[in-house]
Amino acid sequence: MAGSARVVAATLITALLATACSQGSATRTEEPAAGGKVTLRYFTFSAAPDHVKDLDTIVAAFEKENPTVDVQVETAPYDQYFTKLQTSIAGQTAPDTFELNYENFVTYAGAGSLLDLGTAGGDTDTSGYATESLNAFKHDGKQFGLPASFSTVVLLYNKDLFEKAGVALPTADWTWEDEKAAAEKLTGDGVFGDFQPVTFFEFYKALKQTGGEFMAGGKSTFNSPEGIKAAKWLVEKVGKTMPTEAEIGGTADYDTNLFKSGKLAMWHNGIWQFAGLKDVPFGWDVVVEPGDTQKASAVFHNSVAASATTKHPREAYAWAKFMSSSNVAATTRIASSWELPPVSDQAVLAGYLKDPVPANRQAVFDSLKSIALPPVIARQQEMQDAVTQELTEAAAGRKSVEDALTEAAAKVDALLG
């Protein structure tokens, strides 16, 4: 008995080792590609679905300049992107280069997952970048990401609905009061006056618009009179000028479809929506978001980073630099309204204003005059979820705004440790 058991065990182990070995070699043979060509993987969330072709244009231009590099694009929707990225890093199959946003940059840079792009290419020319953007992706004095694009959140509005209801169009001088009054007049007959998601991202910005601070000195400071005012600004729209959670019913892209179908008058959303709104059958325009005591617009920053474990650091750097600051990348982005390139050259940026729709594109640049950057901590996702969940409770009427903020602050303080 003991003898046969040993034989079985030995056979199993041999089989196992054989499988393990073949797996190991399979992952290691990708190095010498045909004709000495290097395959460089690039993982992105911002290209799909509206800008895959634009990315192809940039890739083609890069490959023309660097004939030995073959850039392989992989895309994922934003809400799955970071799960896939961290799993691939854990599984040691990280893409050579990938898109990384400002909120998640600190987590990855602090974890040592990123290649120092300041030294990877033996080239330290950063003159093409806007300085603020460059600094946003520095960690411990090292350039772990090259800024590739930025976008802001503005107030989009359906002109036809305003004219039909006889309400004056939004202007840059609007405050919350003006927006509220207009939304109430516009709501009815299957039309909603306003849409602003009740989330962490809207809250931290509204907080700044009313003069509050999210955190200071390693502690949350949003459970304040300003915090309550900001939360009420968001929460009190729900069920009055904005659909409730039950009405939305968990439908994906509910707000996008509502606006596109001409049933939403005002929409707080990002300039990344512009390309998708090209063919809507009604007039629309944008304006800098109304503030309360001051203006504050959300700015989202994306960078291109490289994996610390890439076998092609030079090529990774070349691609990151091309994708972020080359003329082709900048003009392609501008021409297709694929966010904005963080370049220092104002002449390139001026091209953005040429597109006639929306007419008031200047608002995008105006929104940059007073910005609200998201608070960033190591346990970012948990903080975002905690704040959104408590605000959702208040929006559904299951908790008072005051209780929700007290609990959100306690959770955030626990995460700050």
Partner: protein, 309 residues
């Protein structure tokens, strides 16, 4: 356990073979075991050992692991979130198990009679069992959509107002229980149907002759003789109940307000959303321990009520 031990005993009782023959026999056994043993080892046992190792570390998937000993377990045992997750899981089981058993038994009794289209009905009720959970969960999410779902539309026709279903913390778990019971009904039905058909008709006839009415025949003859099938269904459904995940993940993602945050959903969120793979692994092992203890109690307790006739 007893099933796997039988061949071993037979081997021991074999007349003494020459060593060469014994080796051949062992090799034959090994070859037959290989197709299931290798995947079991590669995709179940080794990952399990890996998760045990991970559970003793702090690991966010992107930095190297840091040894923390039993800290993860200590943290979890005192955390309110863990208690809530186990509470929600037990709530699910308490609703799901009686519903799926009673429903499955009812269907099995109905479809055990001679009737027209019986096989067709059996196939129809079994269809959800072989359907992907994602499809079923999305289907129920639509049916139970508070604003535009057909269920609330029907309730509205009766002049009543339907609940908020999965958007309301009080109704979210009942929504998931409903979808789960609907999907698994066919599985329970098939097992119990097989059990019913194994009950000799003579027993029922004899009871009828003795003057037992339908309820007495069901209560005194059918139910006791069905107990081995019932036992199997309860063990399997209970284990499935503890592992409830797909339907929760698709229908509510643990919400609203954490009302459906069950243990496995918590494991998923900890690992893939929050980068706390060490704690998630420890939570998996806690769940494993709970399921193991419950199952041991069930197997021990079966002597009292399971009748193998």
């Amino acid at each position: 356990m007893t099933l796997t031990e039988t061949p071993v005993e037979q081997v021991a009782k074999q007349p003494v073979r020459p060593p060469r023959k014994r080796l051949r026999y062992a090799l034959t056994v090994a070859v037959f075991l290989l197709p299931s043993a290798v995947p079991l080892l590669l995709f179940t046992l080794i990952p399990m050992a890996g998760s045990l190792w991970t559970s003793l570390h702090e690991w966010n998937l992107i930095t190297p692991m840091r040894w923390v000993g039993l800290d993860n377990y200590a943290d979890l045992l005192t955390s309110e979130e863990t208690h809530a997750a186990f509470g929600h899981t037990l709530y699910f089981i308490a609703g799901y198990l009686p519903l799926v058993y009673a429903g499955g038994l009812g269907l099995a009794m109905l479809l055990n009679r001679a009737m027209k289209g019986r096989d067709l009905f059996r196939a129809i009720y079994f269809l959800p069992v072989v359907t992907s959970w994602v499809v079923v969960a999305l289907l129920w999410k639509w049916l139970l959509n508070p604003a535009s779902g057909i269920v609330n539309w029907a309730i509205g026709l009766a002049g009543l107002e339907g609940p908020g279903w999965w958007t309301d913390p009080d109704w979210a778990m009942p929504s998931i229980i409903l979808a789960s019971a609907w999907k698994d009904l066919g599985f329970v039905m098939i097992i119990l149907l097989a059990g019913l058909q194994a009950i000799p008709n003579e027993y029922i006839e004899a009871a009828r002759v003795d003057g037992a009415n339908a309820w007495q025949r069901f209560r005194r003859i059918t139910l006791p003789l069905l107990s081995p099938s019932t036992f199997f269904v309860v063990v399997i459904s209970l284990i499935n109940g503890f592992q409830v995940f797909d339907q929760v993940h698709v229908m509510t993602g643990g919400g609203p307000a954490g009302a459906t945050q069950v243990v496995v959903e918590q494991v998923y969120n900890l690992t893939f959303k929050y980068g706390r793979a060490g704690e998630a692994s420890a939570l998996s092992w806690l769940l494993f321990a709970v399921v193991l203890v419950v199952t041991i109690f069930q197997v021990r307790g079966q002597r009292r009520w399971v009748n193998y006739g």
